[in-house]
């Protein structure tokens, strides 16, 4: 195994939002990474006679429960920051509406036959917001910043395995790898920063964190911390100017307040909770004023078992638990039907997803039978299963403040009690949750979620070398066949081969049930009906934000 074993080939922004999906609430609109299924209410058109042709101007206010922390993307770890940064910066590559990699700042690129060299050709004439031209120097600088040990970034992994990088001329950037690295291309969606403003300066103290200058469709105007960030259109944007004149990012910490603001007109776009989507927005008045969308999110929620715990070492026990948990009930009760059952770590419908793995439909009888085989019976007739005099009790921990997970835990608790297992629930505040319980492996079972990256590489989560303290395989899952599959799959560019490896990988997971995979939730954005040009696609809705517009007659002045 190579020593440079860091990084997972996730799209940068996806793993940025990972932290939020894990830590905060799913209620936030994750602007990046979403998929298809056009939403309801899209077909509705204004009955009144308003000219609906595209027009420049107008504004869109998006609500968020958290403020951005910094607008220098390498330093940011929250989805709010990367969401706003996406309007201001560009990468070399980006994902189109079908989640295919296309050029962004790079006009074209070539991968050498052995897969070890990538050459990017930059667009010419791209200007930074201050008028200076973008060149390969900026790209080189952005790369060097990522690998500089003085940069406090959480995302250096993908770039540290680059063997060499060079900028042979003003518009060319080339990187060399020591061995094939399948997620390499995806890593170059990295936001490019202006070298002429940052070179030789301490990036952590740069004013650009509060007053960013990028190449993107929107320019920074102002930021009142904890309140709002205002961006205005970039007239010189290389793809043409965006229709929407202003983008305003508004911070409203309370979900209920935000919803009231939406109805009062103080917010034009936000992410709904399942309850809001299913119960509070189904009236005619709401449907006239707003369009809501739903599509599967790029994340899943699971119940993970600490495999160092003797109770969970037996595969039959884990399978029994999976049979005893009614996943559809959780989707109905917690997501109000707005989600789908997860069977593995990939999103249904994506190329790596294997739909033919073993499933665990709700079957308490089968669960009891499996538990009996594993030695767990109610020998003292107190209604609780026991083995060698020990009752079957365990604690599920989860991060506090995520009401969806808290509810999921409560439903699981009741179902397991029905087959004679006593479950305690312990919600723990995020920082302590990670440092004291997950990192130190002091837990029995845990409810958590992972973001699903654009690349299916899962090395860091499932490889047996990643079971150390503070590593991601914190349930200590070890399987030599899987180890081999994970390494082979990340070191080849052959899509068919990768697919084969990952199909098998999912079969093993389904057999072993180290997690009980619970659900893939849906993203539930809602947008004010005066905004036109939204076209839901596999990538979600905001991939074509610069094409969104408000018809002249409907624009609000500000």
């Amino acid at each position: 195994m190579n020593t440079l074993k860091m990084s997972i080939g996730m799209k940068l922004r996806s793993s940025v939002s990972l932290i939020i999906v894990l830590g905060l609430s799913l209620a936030l609109v994750t602007l990046n990474g979403c998929s298809s299924k056009p939403g309801e209410g899209k077909a509705e058109k204004k009955a009144t006679k308003v000219d609906l042709s595209p027009a420049y101007g107008g504004r869109l206010v998006e609500g968020s429960i958290g403020d951005a922390s910094t607008l220098l993307p390498p330093l940011a770890t929250d989805s709010a920051s990367s969401g706003v940064a996406a309007f201001i910066y560009n990468g070399l590559l980006k994902f189109d509406k079908d989640l295919k990699l296309v050029g962004d700042l790079a006009e074209s690129w070539e991968v050498s036959n052995d897969g070890l060299t990538i050459t990017f050709h930059l667009r010419k004439g791209v200007k930074w917001h201050d008028g200076v031209e973008l060149t390969s120097k900026d790209v080189m600088f952005s790369y060097q910043l990522m690998i500089d040990p003085k940069t406090p970034t959480a995302y250096s992994g993908d770039y540290l395995i680059v063997k060499k990088a060079e900028a042979p001329d003003k518009y060319t950037f080339r990187v060399y790898y020591a061995k094939p690295f399948a997620p390499a291309l995806i890593s170059w969606t990295l936001n490019i920063l202006p070298a002429h403003l940052l070179q030789g300066k301490d990036v952590t103290k740069s004013p650009l964190a509060r007053h960013p200058i990028g190449t993107g469709p929107y320019r920074f105007v102002s930021w009142r911390q904890g309140d709002r960030i205002i961006l205005t259109y970039n007239p010189d944007y290389f793809e043409g100017r965006a229709y929407m004149g202003k983008y305003i990012f508004r911070v409203i910490p309370d979900q209920a307040t935000m919803f009231l603001e939406l109805k009062a007109g103080g917010v034009d776009m936000m992410g709904l909770t399942p309850l809001q989507y299913a119960r509070q927005t189904d009236n005619a008045k709401f449907k006239r004023g707003y369009r809501k969308y739903r599509y599967l999110a790029f994340s899943y929620t699971y119940l993970g078992y600490n495999l160092l715990d003797p109770k969970f070492k037996d595969k039959r026990v884990r399978r029994a638990l999976s049979y005893a948990i009614d996943k559809q009930e959780i989707i109905d009760g917690v997501l109000l039907g707005l989600g789908t059952i997860a069977t593995g770590p990939y999103k249904p419908g994506t190329w790596a997803y294997n739909s033919n793995v073993k499933r665990y439909p709700y079957d308490p009888a089968k669960a009891k039978q499996l538990l009996g085989q594993a030695g767990w019976t109610d020998s003292d007739r107190d209604g609780i299963l026991d083995r060698n005099g020990q009752p079957f009790k365990f604690t599920i921990i989860t991060n506090q403040g995520n009401s969806l997970r808290a509810k999921t835990a409560q439903i699981i608790q009741r179902r397991l009690r029905e087959i004679g297992i006593v479950v305690d629930i312990r919600p723990i505040e995020w920082a302590a949750f990670i440092n004291e319980f997950i990192d130190k492996k002091k837990f029995e079972a845990v409810i958590l979620g992972w973001t699903i990256g654009q690349d299916p590489d899962q090395y860091d989560i499932w490889h047996s070398s990643k079971t150390g303290i503070k590593e991601l395989n914190f349930i200590s899952y070890k399987n030599s066949e899987m180890d081999e599959l994970l390494i082979k799959a990340r070191e080849t560019f052959d899509l068919e081969a990768r697919k084969r490896y990952y199909y098998r990988f999912q079969e093993i997971l389904a057999e072993d049930q180290p997690y009980t995979f619970l659900y893939v939730p849906e993203s539930l954005p809602v947008v004010q009906a005066r905004v036109q040009g939204i076209e839901p696609a596999p990538a979600g809705i905001s991939y074509n934000f610069i094409k969104w517009y408000v018809p002249k007659g409907l624009q609000r002045t500000s």
Binding site: Q280, E329, D332, S403, A406, Q410, R414, E429
Partner: protein, 282 residues
């Protein structure tokens, strides 16, 4: 006023104070409900049924159902136990600390008094809600942690009260007499001084219970109160807040319960105070 015992005077005044009586009644009701929760609650408070999420009050579910289809009435009834419990233990802790430090401070005076009073000043200067937030967020929001933190940050008022009482009582004849007979300090403190200083503590404690219940609901709002599935009025109300426009029953009932309880304790406390100090009547 002669010829009437202290209790009689107290009762005479208290009886005429209808607000105080109403408060006492409310508090009594609450105790009965909390005590008899298993007999009064129509359902298991944690019985989930995802088919009846957020249903209107009906003959089956008098107070409707919550976000997981649980019976709100049953959760409220069980919640009364937690709310009361949190209030009592928190105030108990505060009273213990306050009485102890106040007694020492008032009785011994000198540098001990000085030290303790500086401690009181420091604690009073803290925006204590900040401290509570920080500690709860750091150590985790279990019922015990919440009670302890509310208690530990709420003893200063009682401490000052007891100290003041001790300062004025310790020079009184019966104390001087006891001392001259060679009674030990501890005996004087516990046998002679404390019983006479307890009245204001009682008043302050009854107000404190109300404060603690409100504090728990505020913590619930911030997401660091007593955690589900344990029902408390605070967390039912918080769930109600998120659904305020579609499920009024989920916030109205716990809101009312908190309101009535806090009212009850306040009226009771004030009533006791007024009646303890009959001089206030002209």
């Amino acid at each position: 006023m002669t010829g009437l015992s202290f209790q009689q005077i107290f009762w005479q005044h208290f009886r005429k104070n209808y607000l105080a009586l109403a408060g006492a009644g409310l508090v009594l009701c609450l105790f009965v409900v909390a005590l008899l929760a298993p007999y009064l609650a129509p359902y298991d408070p944690n019985m989930i049924n995802v088919k009846i999420i957020l249903e209107l009050p009906s003959s089956q579910h008098l107070f409707g159902t919550d976000e997981l289809g649980r019976d709100v009435l049953s959760r409220m009834i069980y919640g009364s136990r937690i709310s009361l419990f949190v209030g009592f233990v928190a105030v108990g802790i505060a009273s213990l600390i306050g009485v102890f430090l106040g007694a020492i401070s008032g009785y011994y005076g000198g540098w001990v008094d000085n030290l303790i009073m500086r401690g009181v000043d420091i604690m009073l200067t803290f925006p204590s809600f900040f401290l509570i937030l920080a500690v709860i967020a750091f150590v985790g929001p279990s019922i015990w942690n919440i009670m302890v933190v509310i208690g530990v940050t709420g003893w200063m008022g009682i401490c000052r009260l007891v100290r003041a009482q001790f300062l004025s009582l310790k020079e009184r004849e019966f104390v001087v007499a006891a001392r001259s007979q060679g009674a030990k300090d501890l005996r004087i403190i516990f046998r002679h001084l404390l019983p006479n200083a307890m009245a204001p503590v009682l008043v302050s404690a009854s107000l404190g219970v109300a404060g603690a219940i409100l504090l728990e609901s505020a913590l619930s709002f911030l997401g660091i109160g007593v955690q589900p599935p344990t029902p408390t009025w605070g967390n039912i109300l918080t769930a109600g807040k998120d659904n305020i426009e579609i499920a009024w029953w989920l916030s109205l009932y716990p809101g009312l319960a908190i309101f009535l309880t806090v009212m009850g304790y306040n009226l009771l406390g004030e009533g006791i105070r007024d009646s303890l100090d009959p001089r206030l009547k002209i």
